[in-house]
Structures are given as structure tokens and as C-alpha cells.
Subunit: 463 residues, 2 copies
């Protein structure tokens, strides 16, 4: 439900959603196939450090923990109330939560506005707002943080730690992002599913994320934007970059967005272009772009000029990159135009048949020494604003060795404030190199176009 | 060098490039760090069944095989001569190859036209054409086929077997595709790097691939198209779909393409749009699209109408898909407009809060039974032209179980000739499901947009 700006009491309370000292799970079942059981199981399995209070009127114990018939029976302070009971029971649970002075309520339950029961949902919102109990959801999967070993919801895994605060209306896409994080080391500071966002809105999580010291970029997946003014205000206030993907712009998507998270989209898609641009956020169009740009803005500084030097051992990645840079309106410039001396300096690190154009092709025979030399020359040249490296696996390329060399160069040149991105197009060793590079803070990508898109996003951030 | 059409003697000889009974490796070194050594080592390691003749004037043996001072000393029939010696020695090797009546010559050596020595390269071409010895290369990485355990060149791995003939001018991008094949089960029938393509051209490999019974789609990575007429003729003659990616269209890309594979691009990029459209081929713009569309056209029939039904357990993938279908000019239609009865039939497989719109959201609780039922209903409806499935990993989703169910449904509905694509956005279990689905002939993708792009490509093929 609409807010005109982020409410300070909500922002202040969100720390209890993401780092609670105690959690009551209402609807905690004894049966392992039930979602209410899984919430408790995941909390325990991933190493939650606080206290868990299962609430279940028909159980004495859930997964070895003492269970309570109602919230009121707990008799201790409860930070977070996680609600996983049928829709018609939610109101009375929230009344109990208010009564015991819980800090925040998270409602996972579905079957509210998204199936036409907006009345039921609005009544909950009004009740919670009147009693200043922030309500997250309903119709969500949960939240967590890899730093705190905190996994609260129907969530099969935690992401790897990193800079991205992932704030998603869709549960399924949030889970997809978490799975990708594990596989591809897309590092996150915390994540949350907002579902129907009956009460707590994007703006409030944006302000929370802006204060969170582990978060370096705020990434938001939007199906419906009920409170565009609040969104714009909070984004503009944030000192951290914001990446937003707004879906449901298509004709049938408008209906699907309503059916999914009760999101209303009375405005055309152009409207969201204007809102997101007014918010000074980056608008991603596609899922992969959303993840890729988030990673780049999370780890690297903005690109302050157009002088990007690309260093590669293969012409294929070079050509894909040239074309994509031009497609995105930021064509690569020739090395001689960027810095007349640089070409000669880099020449020392390539064989006769290499090409000191830009992309600089140090050839398929390039090893660690050639890469290191070329990278260092590029970083140290005062005319160079950013460096894009590519490792193509040839039969003689030490992909992991080159990735390690890239990390070394990055560590010694980082204070120059020049963005460094990498491309590793290929098989198993490339995927390993990507994880290694990302763990060291270098956004690395599986295709040339992904890296180029990310570099252009860094340039937008630099303007 | 330009040809006006595919030359029959060349097409006929290409079987010796891809399935030779014997190979002479000229420049086969005893030292494992040398590329000439790696060619022999890879052939042996991957299980080449024919005879290998290392040629090296200073060695008696290479990797345990008898070595010969020159090609003329072998004294047996040689199908393929693989040349990995410095540029100035290549001419005399080719003279020997002609003398011993080798069937085809493959020249890996660099430093020809791409560094300004077009004169040297053209002399080789003219010599080979005069003597009807097809010359593949120079400046290439090699070729192979997983079906024949054949890996000939500087190639660290074979792809998994499948329908795609991968014909690439770039070596690095070819290797990237092979690595991706291993990791993501992008199945290939054969692959070849063409490099500078001084003699043998795309057209000839297209005609060979069209005859090859294992190939179902012909995928071509182009940096320069010297012989557009021949290309168009061969594509139009082919009974199999052709997917082409043409790079080097950007201003700096024109120079990079020359430096890489001596490719000349006197025409603007629009020209290639026209050529590829005249060839009735699909033009991919980006690397990922190139691979994704190749897979779809390789495994699935064309989509004969616009009525695609999407079945998903998560609204996030649904929304990304809706938007991307509309972005590509093929919006999804509502289920009730496709088939009034289908919504009711599918309703039986979803809970109350599911959505029978289109995408059909059978909800996060959906299991194998729900998926199977929904898929079957969709396939059997005469108004449905194709099905797009999505599996989102929730805490209760049996991702692998659903993938296996999809394979079962596919096997029993395959004769209907309706394309079936899948989306699995997520972590490790999704990647496993993708491999499982692809192994069964169902193109499955890691993001919604990739699958939608592939479905739209199938529709183009159906028109």
C-alpha cells in the first residue's frame, strides 16, 4: 500500500528482519514435508545464532525445539515473527505479535490480493500501520544473509557473501539469484523477498541497505511500484548505486504481475523509464543484465572516461566486444588515440603476430608474464580509464594462472580507482577462473557481451 | 579467397578433414610445450582410431610413434596433412602434400594475411587450387568430432555429441563453444576452425554439413564473408537450418577482424543483414544467442503458429518471459484466447492460488504430477503450437524429478511436432536439470530470456 516516503520507524526496524536475536515461526509443523517445518529446519541447518520459538498449538516440540501454543505463551522478547499459516488466521497472529511487542512481522502466506482478496490484505496493512508493526509480505519466500548464516524462509540455499543487497518482489527469481550466487559467486550482503509488499516497501529496504556497511550496491527486482515518489526519494538519498529491473511492462505481463504479486501497473512501461531515471538508478531490461551490472557496480568504481583498453589472447572475444561496445553507444577507441606510447609499451608483451590495436590481442600463446605486463602497462597509463581483460582457453593457456596474475595486478593497481572487468569464455577452467576472480572482487563474465554491458553501466555511473 | 559457389571437389574431400583414416602432423615436436607436440598428444588422448604420422626431420620418434623426416618418406596413403611449421616453410610442405596425393591440407600456422602478408597467403591458395588440394586455414586451431573421438589441433577438449555443426572462423570462440558444450551439454556433430579461410570457404562446409547425417543445424561464426554469393547459394540449398553470427560490424571491429583473421569488411553491417536474410539463415547478434538458437533449431521442429503456452511454478520467470516475448514482437496470448477448454483442464493441476492465465502458474508447490498433467494437457490441445516450461527451485521443488517428468512427456508427445523448450533459473540442481534435459533433446536454458529468444527463432524458422 502506497507510502509517500520511507518511514523512519520501519527503516529502523528492518535490522530485526535481517539480523534478529530471536524468531518465532508461527505454523512450524512437525512434518518435514510442510513449509512451516522447512523454515525451522533451514534456520538450524544454516547456523542461525539466535533463538527459535516454534509456534504450534498441537505440538510440544518441533525439530527438537520446545514449541509454544501461541505467540503470547513464549514469554520472552521476540524480534521477528515469521507467519506461515492459512490466510484467514493471519490477522489474529498479527494481533498477538503486536501484543507481545514483536519488532517485525514477516508473512509468507499466499492467497491475498493476488487472488482478488485485496480487502483482506488492506485490513492487515491498516492494522499493522496503526500499531507500527512493520509487515513484510504477504506472499513471500523469506530473507537472509550469508554473513550472519541467516536463512529464514522457504529457501534452499544461501548465496556467497559479497556486495549486493538483493531486494526482490518475486520469490522464484530471488531463489534463482541465490542459486546463481552459489554457482557463479555472485556475492550478496543480504537478500529479501517482498512479495505483495502490503506494508514495507522498496524505499524502506533501500534506506536500510544504504546504511548497511556490507552492502555496496542495491539491486531491486520490481513487479509493481505502488510508491514511485518514495522510491525516487530513497534512491536519490542513497550514496550507493541502485540497479533496478522492472518487469510486467508487456500487455500480458500486466495481468501476470497482478496474478503473481498483486502488482498493479496502471502506467505504461515508459513511465518506469522516467521514474527509474529520475531515481538516478540503472534500469536493467533482462535478468542476466540485472545480475551482471549489479556485480560490476558492487565491486568496481565508476568508469570516469571513455578510454577503456581491452587485453585479450583471442580475437574472437575482441570482436564480440568491439561490436557490443559500439551497439551500446560507447565504441572502443584505438590505442594510439588513447595514448601514443602505450602501444609500444604493450608491444613488449606480445609476439610479432599480436595486434596492438584496441582490443590488444597479445595472442593465443600469451602466458602469465605477457598478461601481467600488458595489464600493468594499461593500468599505469594516465590516459586509460578502465581495463577489460579476456582469457580464452587455448591448448597452451594457463587459464587459472592468468586469473591469479590478474588478481595480483588488481591488488597493486586498485588504488588508481580504475575499473577492471574480465571475460572468460569457455568450459570448466573458465568457470573456475570466474569464481576465483569474483572472490577477489573482479567482476568476471562468461561472455564478452556481458562484460561490455557491465563496463558501459560503470560508465553511466561515472557520469 | 573468393569463390562463386561451393566447389564439388572440395565438398567431397571434407570428409577427410573430419573423419580421416590417417593424419600426418608436420611440425610434430618432441617437446610437450610445443604446439606441434600437443596436436599429436590430443589426437592420441581423445582416442583417434586412424594412423598418425609425425613428421619431424630431427626426431626418430614423437610420443612413442615413429616419426618421418618429410611427408614423402611416409610411403603410405595420407588423408589429412596437418601443418604446424613456421610460415616460410608452409609452401614446400604443401608441395610435398600434393606429391603424395594427400586428400586435404590443414594449415594452423599464423603470420600470413592477418599481419599484412596477403601475397604469401594468396600464393598458397593459388598453388592449392591449381593442384586441387583443399587447404583449410591458415591461422586456425583445428577440427574434430565427438562421435569419432577426433580432436585434431590445439584444442583442450571435445564437445558432447549432439546436433550442431559448429563452423567458426575464430579459434578462441570455437574453443569457448567447446568448453560451453562440455559444461552445459551443448551437443555438436562436428566443429572446425576456418581461420583466414584462404581456400576452403563457409559454403563448402555448409554443403558438407548438410550431407552429414548427424548434423541437424549448421552454425557459423563469421568475421569476413569474402564469398557472399557462394554463401547464399549453399544456405538456400541446405535442407537444414543455418544460424549465423557475423561480427566485425563496428568501426573498430573492422580493423580488429583484419588483424585477427585477415577478414575484409568493405561493406557496412546492413549489407550482412541483407545477405544473411537472402540466405534464409537466422542472424544472431550476440554470442549467447548464437549458441542458444543453434541448440533450439538443432533439437526442435519449427514453431508453426504463435500459440505458445508457458507452464511455470514461479511468477518471476513468467514475467521475464512475457516481457521478452513482447519485446521480440511475438506476445504471448491468453490461454482463454488460445483454447477456451485448456484453462479448465490445466486448473486441475494447480492449487487455488495458481494462475491459469498464460503463463500458467501452477505455483511453487507444484510437483511431478502437476507438471506432467499440465504439460500433457498443453501438448494435446490442438490449438497449442508449442510449450515453454519453467522450473524454479523452491524449497519444496524436486527440480530433477520435474525435469525427468518433462522428458517423459516429451517422449510421448514428440510425434506431434510441437517444440518444447525449458527454463531452469537457479543453482546447481538447475544446471544438472539443464544437462539432463538437453541430453534428452529438450533445449533448456538458465534464464527466461534465453528460452524466449530461442522460441521466437523457432517461429521464424516456421514461417
Amino acid at each position: 500500500m502506497k507510502i509517500s516516503e520511507a518511514r523512519p520507524y520501519v527503516v529502523e526496524r528492518l535490522k530485526y528482519a535481517l539480523n534478529p536475536r530471536s524468531i518465532a515461526v508461527v505454523g512450524a509443523s512437525r512434518y518435514p514435508t510442510k513449509v512451516g517445518n522447512k523454515v525451522v529446519a533451514e534456520l538450524m541447518e544454516w547456523g542461525y545464532k539466535g533463538t527459535i520459538y516454534p509456534v504450534n498449538p498441537r505440538a510440544k516440540e518441533v525439530l527438537g525445539l520446545q514449541a509454544y501454543p501461541t505467540l503470547r505463551d513464549i514469554g520472552k522478547e521476540v524480534d521477528l515473527v515469521f507467519v506461515a499459516v492459512p490466510a484467514h488466521l493471519v490477522r489474529s497472529i498479527l494481533e498477538d505479535a503486536v501484543a507481545i511487542k514483536a519488532k517485525v512481522a514477516v508473512v509468507a502466506t499466499s492467497a491475498f490480493k493476488e487472488i482478488g482478496r485485496g480487502d483482506l490484505q488492506n485490513a492487515l496493512t491498516e492494522y499493522c500501520r496503526r500499531n507500527e508493526l512493520p509487515l513484510i509480505g504477504p506472499n513471500l519466500v523469506g530473507m537472509g544473509s550469508p554473513y550472519d548464516h541467516f536463512n529464514c524462509g522457504f529457501i534452499p540455499y544461501l548465496p556467497v557473501p559479497g556486495p549486493i543487497a538483493m531486494i526482490s518482489q518475486s520469490g522464484a527469481n530471488l531463489l534463482a539469484a541465490l542459486g546463481t550466487s552459489q554457482e557463479e559467486h555472485l556475492g550478496m550482503s543480504f537478500f529479501v523477498g517482498l512479495g505483495n509488499k502490503a506494508d514495507v516497501d522498496f524505499a524502506e529496504f533501500i534506506e536500510y541497505a544504504d546504511q548497511d556497511p556490507r552492502t555496496k550496491v542495491i539491486s531491486i527486482y520490481i513487479e509493481g511500484l505502488d510508491s514511485p515518489e518514495a522510491f525516487v526519494k530513497s534512491c536519490r538519498k542513497a550514496r550507493k548505486p541502485v540497479v533496478a529491473i522492472k518487469v510486467g511492462g508487456s500487455k500480458i505481463g500486466v495481468k501476470a504481475a497482478f496474478a503473481h504479486t498483486a502488482s498493479e501497473n496502471p502506467e505504461g512501461d515508459d513511465y518506469y523509464d522516467r521514474v527509474i531515471s529520475e531515481a538516478r538508478a540503472y534500469r536493467a531490461r533482462m535478468w542476466q543484465e540485472f545480475l551482471d551490472v549489479s556485480l560490476a557496480l558492487g565491486y568496481q568504481p565508476p568508469l570516469k572516461g571513455d578510454n577503456v583498453v581491452m587485453i585479450t589472447n583471442g580475437g574472437g572475444a575482441a570482436l564480440l566486444s568491439c561490436d557490443h561496445f559500439e551497439r551500446l553507444g560507447m565504441p572502443l577507441r584505438e590505442l594510439k588515440d588513447i595514448s601514443p606510447l602505450l602501444a609500444a609499451k604493450i608491444r613488449a608483451y606480445m609476439p610479432m603476430f599480436g595486434s596492438p590495436l584496441n582490443p590488444v590481442d597479445i595472442s593465443g600463446t600469451a602466458g602469465v608474464i605477457q598478461y601481467k605486463g600488458a595489464f600493468q602497462q594499461a593500468f599505469r597509463d594516465p590516459n586509460v580509464d578502465g581495463v577489460l581483460g579476456a582469457i580464452c582457453p587455448t591448448a597452451v593457456t594457463d587459464v587459472i594462472g592468468v586469473a591469479k596474475a590478474a588478481v595480483e595486478v588488481y591488488r597493486s593497481t586498485r588504488e588508481l580507482g580504475k575499473p577492471f572487468l574480465m571475460i572468460c569464455q569457455g568450459g570448466g577452467e573458465c568457470r573456475e577462473a570466474i569464481r576465483l576472480l569474483r572472490d577477489a572482487g573482479i567482476p568476471a563474465y562468461l561472455t564478452a557481451e556481458q562484460a561490455v554491458t557491465a563496463m558501459v553501466a560503470l560508465r553511466k555511473a561515472g557520469k
